[in-house]
């Protein structure tokens, strides 16, 4: 009697396990990093929903940030995936980890049109239509279009907040483009809130604004900031890494240069490739958010003070045309049903 019971229960358990195995179709438990800024939150939550509903994986989100998440993935092999890894911060260790097979770069550009650079507000174009299509080099000839509040005879170029890496880069580019001689002042906005404040104030009142910002951000989406082409090519890594990025006393002769390209990857661990299988890897590979759509989502998040999980549902409902291309039609159906 007893033995019968044991065998029976064992069979039942076995049955459950094998049944589960069939349902998950080769996908197990995955840990995905949810980094602490809006676009990364959104991507992590979209991945969670698609992997869980579409591929039957079990996904756990863990909080993260650029450096800690990468270090943990590299050393411990967990989390299994970082949807938005800013690669400039980890160039060398990433190369090493990829060649050792610990990490796989599953998607080289999960968001299009991203990066740092110089921008103008649409109000600027409205006031001075001739600025459309002008490069930075040409705009720099017209400091009178952007009068500084404190010294209206000079043009205001809004740089980066004190203490950020981009502050140094902007100060060196300010010298490299000889902007002081051309009649410009470099405004230090003091903080991220200060920088955002100058933009929203200029955009609200329709006055011209010229300065540094980066993409993808809700500011770019909300105020429709226009990127400015530098008008000079990228002058090489030697100039950028060994001069532009260093404090001005260590950078005697900065060369005018376009902003270095920001590289963002979706990286996954070796374990992810093993448990997830080919289908899931190909999903990650195809999953590219067009820049304007991403910015639109960030504006939605900022306006509604929405969390990543809410925004992910909003994205999946609103932008079906985009994400259904990332997955097979049967998976898309499952995800839609699960929403």
């Amino acid at each position: 009697m007893k033995i019968k019971n044991i065998i029976l229960s064992a069979l039942v358990v076995l049955g459950f396990i094998s049944f589960n195995g069939v349902a998950n179709a080769g996908c197990g438990k995955l840990v995905v990093a949810e980094q602490n800024w809006a676009s990364a939150e959104l991507m992590a939550n979209v991945d969670k929903i698609i992997l869980e509903k579409g591929y039957g994986c079990e996904v756990e989100l863990v909080p993260g940030a650029t450096m800690p998440t990468f270090t943990s993935m590299n050393d411990k092999g967990t989390p299994d995936m970082n949807p938005e890894q800013w690669a400039n911060a980890v160039v060398e260790p990433l190369k090493e980890a990829v060649s050792a097979g610990r990490i796989i770069v599953a998607n080289k550009a999960p968001i299009t049109g991203l990066g740092e650079g110089w921008w103008i507000t649409p109000g600027t174009i409205k006031k001075y239509p001739q600025i459309k299509g002008m490069t930075a080099v040409e705009i720099l000839k017209h400091p009178e279009w952007f009068p500084s509040k404190e010294d209206p005879s000079k043009g205001a170029f809004v740089g980066c907040p004190a203490g950020w890496g981009c502050q140094i880069a902007n100060a060196n580019l300010f010298r490299a483009f000889e902007m002081e001689k051309k009649g410009w002042v470099l405004i230090d906005p003091g903080s991220a809130a200060g920088l955002d404040g100058t933009i929203s104030k200029a955009a609200d009142s329709g006055s011209p604004w010229f300065g540094y910002y980066w993409n993808p951000t809700s500011m770019v989406g909300k105020y429709d900031l226009q990127p400015v082409d530098f008008g000079v090519p990228y002058a090489g890594a030697e100039n950028w890494n060994n001069c532009i990025m260093l404090p001005d006393e260590q950078c005697a002769n900065p060369k005018a240069s376009a902003w270095t390209k920001s590289e963002v990857n979706s990286i996954v661990s070796a374990n992810f490739a093993k448990t997830g299988g080919k289908d899931i890897l190909s999903y990650v590979e195809k999953r590219t958010y067009p820049g304007p759509v991403m910015n639109g989502m960030l504006v939605y998040m900022a306006d509604n003070q929405a969390k990543g999980s809410d925004a992910a549902v909003e994205f999946l409902k609103k932008h079906e045309d985009i994400w259904t291309k990332w997955v097979s039609s049967s998976v898309a159906k499952k995800v839609k049903a699960g929403l």
């Binding site: 509040k149 404190e150 010294d151 907040p161 004190a162 203490g163 950020w164 502050q167 405004i187 230090d188 906005p189 003091g190 903080s191 809130a193 200060g194 404040g197 100058t198 929203s200 104030k201 200029a202 609200d204 009142s205 306006d303 509604n304 003070q305």
Partner: protein, 294 residues
């Protein structure tokens, strides 16, 4: 039971609408009146920019001589004058001269504005109990509300730069001078006032010749506190684009530059101590000739 375990919260969407509504009302307000308010502050900005330029462009020995002679006029103490000279030499020697001058310039203007607003306000409070009752909670709020909270509307209204920085500093630094002017006048001896009334002094005469002179030491304590609090706000003002010693401190905090932060922090301390001692000594000296010893 649920009523007791769960706090009755406003509905989520209504709460979000309320927040959004407040934001929109203020945004509309700043869109329609922002330029006018900015224009109103233009003279202050003009004065600030000029004053900072003068401070920075004047050759450093002249500035040191001026500050040292101010120290002498205020305190009549050789020790203090020497200390002032050495501090400013060190500040310059460690490469902080320009930032230091920018900070001294904005603090000076702030203190002048605080005195111009605060002393009349304090007098008004001392003369009317009703004004005192309404002002006290406002002063409490100005001193305790986290500065970042009022930085948001100031940023939306005026953008970044010297004027918004000046307003942020003044909001924080003006309460002590109002409070202490009020206190000083209210504490003037009743019998002295009676005596002046017996001689037929008008209200203005009483104020000018009895109350204010007797309250002056307390008022000076207020000025002193205002200077200290204005200096404490220098770093926060730098977060909205005010140049000065606060900028390198922000840079130091962001990048964990210990020495840079320490140097600039100590420079602020040095300025604070110098101004504190000068104004305190001055306050003590104006008491001295009246024979009150401390």
């Amino acid at each position: 039971m649920e009523f007791f375990t769960k706090f009755p919260v406003m509905e989520r969407s209504a709460l979000a609408d309320l927040r959004k509504g407040i934001d929109f009302v203020f945004r509309d307000f700043s869109r329609s009146y922002g330029d006018a308010i900015e224009a109103f502050f233009d003279p202050v900005l003009f004065f600030l920019v000029r004053f900072e330029k003068i401070m920075i462009n004047t050759p450093w020995p002249i500035i040191i001589i001026i500050i040292c002679s101010l120290a002498w006029i205020g305190s009549r103490s050789w020790k203090l004058v020497l200390g002032t000279a050495i501090s400013f030499f060190l500040i310059g020697y460690f490469g902080m001269w320009k930032d230091c001058m920018a900070t001294v310039a904005i603090i000076t203007v702030c203190v002048i504005i605080c005195m111009a607003v605060g002393i009349p306000m304090g007098i008004l409070m001392a003369r009317s109990n009703r004004v005192e009752k309404t002002m006290l909670p406002i002063l409490d709020m100005m001193q305790t509300i986290p500065s970042f909270v009022y930085l948001i509307p100031i940023l939306m209204l005026l953008g970044i730069g010297k004027v918004p920085g000046l307003i942020a500093i003044c909001i924080y630094a003006v309460p002590p001078i109002i409070r202490l002017t009020n206190l000083g006048i209210r504490e003037v001896d009743k019998e002295t006032i009676e005596a002046s009334e017996a001689f037929g002094a008008t209200k203005i005469q009483k104020l000018k010749t009895v109350q204010i002179p007797l309250a002056l030491p307390t008022v000076f304590a207020g000025v002193n506190q205002t200077i200290m609090m204005a200096l404490a706000m220098v770093v926060i003002a730098s977060m909205i684009g005010v140049k000065g010693l606060g900028v390198p401190i922000l840079r130091a905090v962001m990048n964990q530059y210990l020495a840079l932060g320490l140097f600039n922090g100590l420079a602020i301390v040095a300025i604070a101590i110098i101004f504190d001692r000068i104004s305190q000594e001055y306050g003590r000296r104006i008491q001295k000739h009246r024979g009150i010893k401390k």
